[in-house]
């Protein structure tokens, strides 16, 4: 798009109208930004992670206090009240929430950041003088209009998308992919509309505080596209969606940081934005799917129709808890592969007890985690940590996959697609190319599954069920593990 001549004038005004920044204030925000970097840096190992979290808290404290002491505050009691109310709600939720509900909680928190960004942008639009973004002609500066509109739009998408993700993860809405007819055209049209109207808003001659109604139109469209984008995405693709929304919440914060010329916000926005983007990338890679195919949605809905007719009744071996207990005790090495089913059945505590009983028998017990197991990145690791499984017993896919050949038992609980050999052999399979665990190399495979009916998220049959060395344990995951524990300690 060609820049109109008046834009260049306004760009230079941006520099003139910028705050006469007190260097100490700028320094304080910079320190806050650096502390946030250290907070993420701490997460490189569980040993340093808690110190990192403290750095994060300190950074936030510095940012808030700096803002409060450097502005003439006309409404301090209200502000303190608002922080107290919000803080109390947040604190209580954080204390009470069940670890299995963590994906929902994170989605809900993302929606709050998104909405907060929308509100801040709207406030800046209505009262630009407070943000020092008013030009000499009484209009909001052109750059600031662009930053505001982008921040508001990204915030709105984050909000509505996260609300849908929350409803799906929390079970208030079907986790299945909901497909609207013509959805790709509707989405592209809405997105195009947002871009064109943002450009019009930015370059419009009407630019005074709260004057241009285009602001609200773009905001409404952005809310709409957030809903439209997430509705067609199915439950097991949620790790990508949650990471993506995480990234958006960062970009929204960064856009507002540009408006406010605030380094703490810009650094944080960039950190969070790249963090979410990297997590989305890791999740997509772990499913061997492109980011676009996940966002286009509808996975699983189409796949079940192709896999359906080929499925026939094949013989499988069913075992009992007693059989499983006996074989587990005889084993020298057991590798446990948990999946989303373990989280649903809340089986992590029973599972850890089983691990303890086996260790007492001198069996080596390890846990193998697939990057996309569960509903968000690292979901399984948190649940196992909650159940007191030491983190040095828990291994990533690439670190443990070569060990299955030496393992006596591969114990699969609530996972399915991540152990499906079709990903390695069947080019027509929707999960072809996804890295999977080589459980077929283990001497015995135990597969806890509710029934032989369901075939995982991707809707593909799993050859592991029918292998000679596989023992199917058909029951609720938690009940089955508890029975195995009983049989072992008897």
């Amino acid at each position: 798009m060609m820049l109109a001549p008046d834009t260049t004038v306004d760009l230079s005004l941006a520099a003139d109208a910028a705050h006469a920044v007190n260097p100490w204030v700028a320094l304080a925000y910079l320190v806050a930004g650096v502390l946030f970097i250290l907070a993420l840096r701490g997460l490189s190992s569980p040993a340093t992670s808690r110190r990192g979290n403290r750095y994060g808290m300190a950074g936030m404290g510095i940012a808030v206090v700096t803002t409060l002491v450097t502005h003439s505050i006309a409404s301090l009691p209200e502000i303190i009240g608002a922080i107290a109310i919000g803080g109390a709600i947040g604190f209580i939720i954080a204390r009470r929430i069940a670890m299995t509900a963590m994906p929902q909680l994170v989605a809900a928190f993302h929606s709050l950041v998104g909405l907060a960004a929308v509100l801040v942008a709207a406030a800046a639009f209505l009262n630009p003088a407070a943000f020092d973004i008013l030009g000499l002609d009484g209009n909001i500066l052109v750059v600031s209009r662009l930053e505001l509109m982008l921040g508001a739009a990204i915030g709105a998408i984050t909000f509505s998308g996260s609300v849908i993700a929350f409803l799906k993860l929390n079970g208030n809405m079907s986790g299945a992919a909901i497909l609207l007819p013509m959805r790709h055209w509707i989405n592209l049209g809405t997105l195009g509309g947002i871009l064109v109207l943002t450009a019009m808003f930015t370059h419009s001659p009407v630019g005074g505080p709260g004057e241009n109604p285009l602001f609200w139109v773009v905001l409404a469209l952005a809310f709409a596209i957030g809903f439209l984008l997430i509705i067609p995405i199915g439950g097991a693709d949620m790790p990508v969606v949650v990471s993506m929304l995480n990234s958006y919440s960062g970009w929204a914060a960064a856009a507002m940081g540009f408006t406010l010329h605030n380094t703490a916000m810009i650094i944080t926005g960039a950190l969070v934005g790249s963090s979410g983007a990297i997590l989305s990338y890791i999740m997509c890679r772990a499913m061997n799917r492109s980011f676009l195919s996940v966002i286009a949605g509808g996975f699983g809905a189409e796949a079940s129709s192709t896999g359906g007719e080929a499925r026939e009744q094949r013989p499988y071996k069913q075992g009992s808890a007693d059989d499983a207990a006996f074989m587990l005790k005889q084993a020298e090495s057991v590798i446990i592969i948990p999946g989303y089913g373990m989280a649903v059945a809340q089986a992590q505590h029973a599972l850890r007890e089983m691990g303890d009983l086996l260790k007492e028998e001198g069996v080596s017990v390890r846990y193998a985690i697939h990057p996309v197991a569960g509903r968000m990145p690292g979901h399984m690791n948190v649940l196992l940590a909650e159940a007191n499984v030491p983190y040095d017993d828990v291994f990533e896919l690439e670190d443990i996959n070569s060990e299955f050949a030496q393992a006596d038992v591969a114990f699969i609980i609530g996972a399915n697609d991540v152990v499906n050999p079709a990903a390695k052999t069947d080019k027509g399979s929707p999960i072809y190319g996804m890295p999977v665990f080589d459980v077929d190399k283990a001497k015995t495979v135990m597969f806890i599954k509710r029934s032989m009916g369901g075939v995982g998220y991707a809707g593909v049959d799993n050859d592991v069920f029918y292998m000679d060395q596989t023992m199917m344990l058909l029951a609720d995951a938690k009940k089955m593990v508890e029975e195995i524990n009983k049989a072992m300690s008897a």
């Binding site: 569980p46 936030m60 919000g86 709600i89 954080a94 907060a116």
Partner: protein, 101 residues
């Protein structure tokens, strides 16, 4: 600060983010999301600015609402991260055997 200086800070921070996040161990990806969530609520700075100035009552109330939302996130995000991180434990070497019945 002019636009280009701000943009430079932003681009540099993206690179820092890229390297820092790749060094995060996959076991801590859930706490990573929780803590990034908490720190992205630094947007509270904007909310405070909006609610501090008396210029427009509408803007002030929008700002205060944003302060509430961001505070939920800040306190909730850091507290839940702290709770999760406290659960990650190393193996205690000489495993104290508890008598089981």
């Amino acid at each position: 600060m002019d636009f280009i200086s701000i943009l430079s800070i932003f681009v540099m921070a993206c690179f820092v983010g890229y390297y820092v996040v790749w060094s995060v161990t996959p076991a801590l990806h859930t706490p990573l999301m929780a803590v990034t969530n908490a720190i992205s609520s630094v947007i509270i700075v904007g909310a405070l600015v909006a609610s501090a100035e008396a210029g427009s009552p509408a803007a002030k109330w929008l700002g205060l609402a944003a302060v509430v939302l961001a505070s939920v996130n800040i306190f909730g995000g850091f507290a839940v991260t702290e709770r999760m991180l406290a659960m990650y434990k190393k193996k205690e070497r000489p495993a104290a055997k508890e008598p089981r019945t």
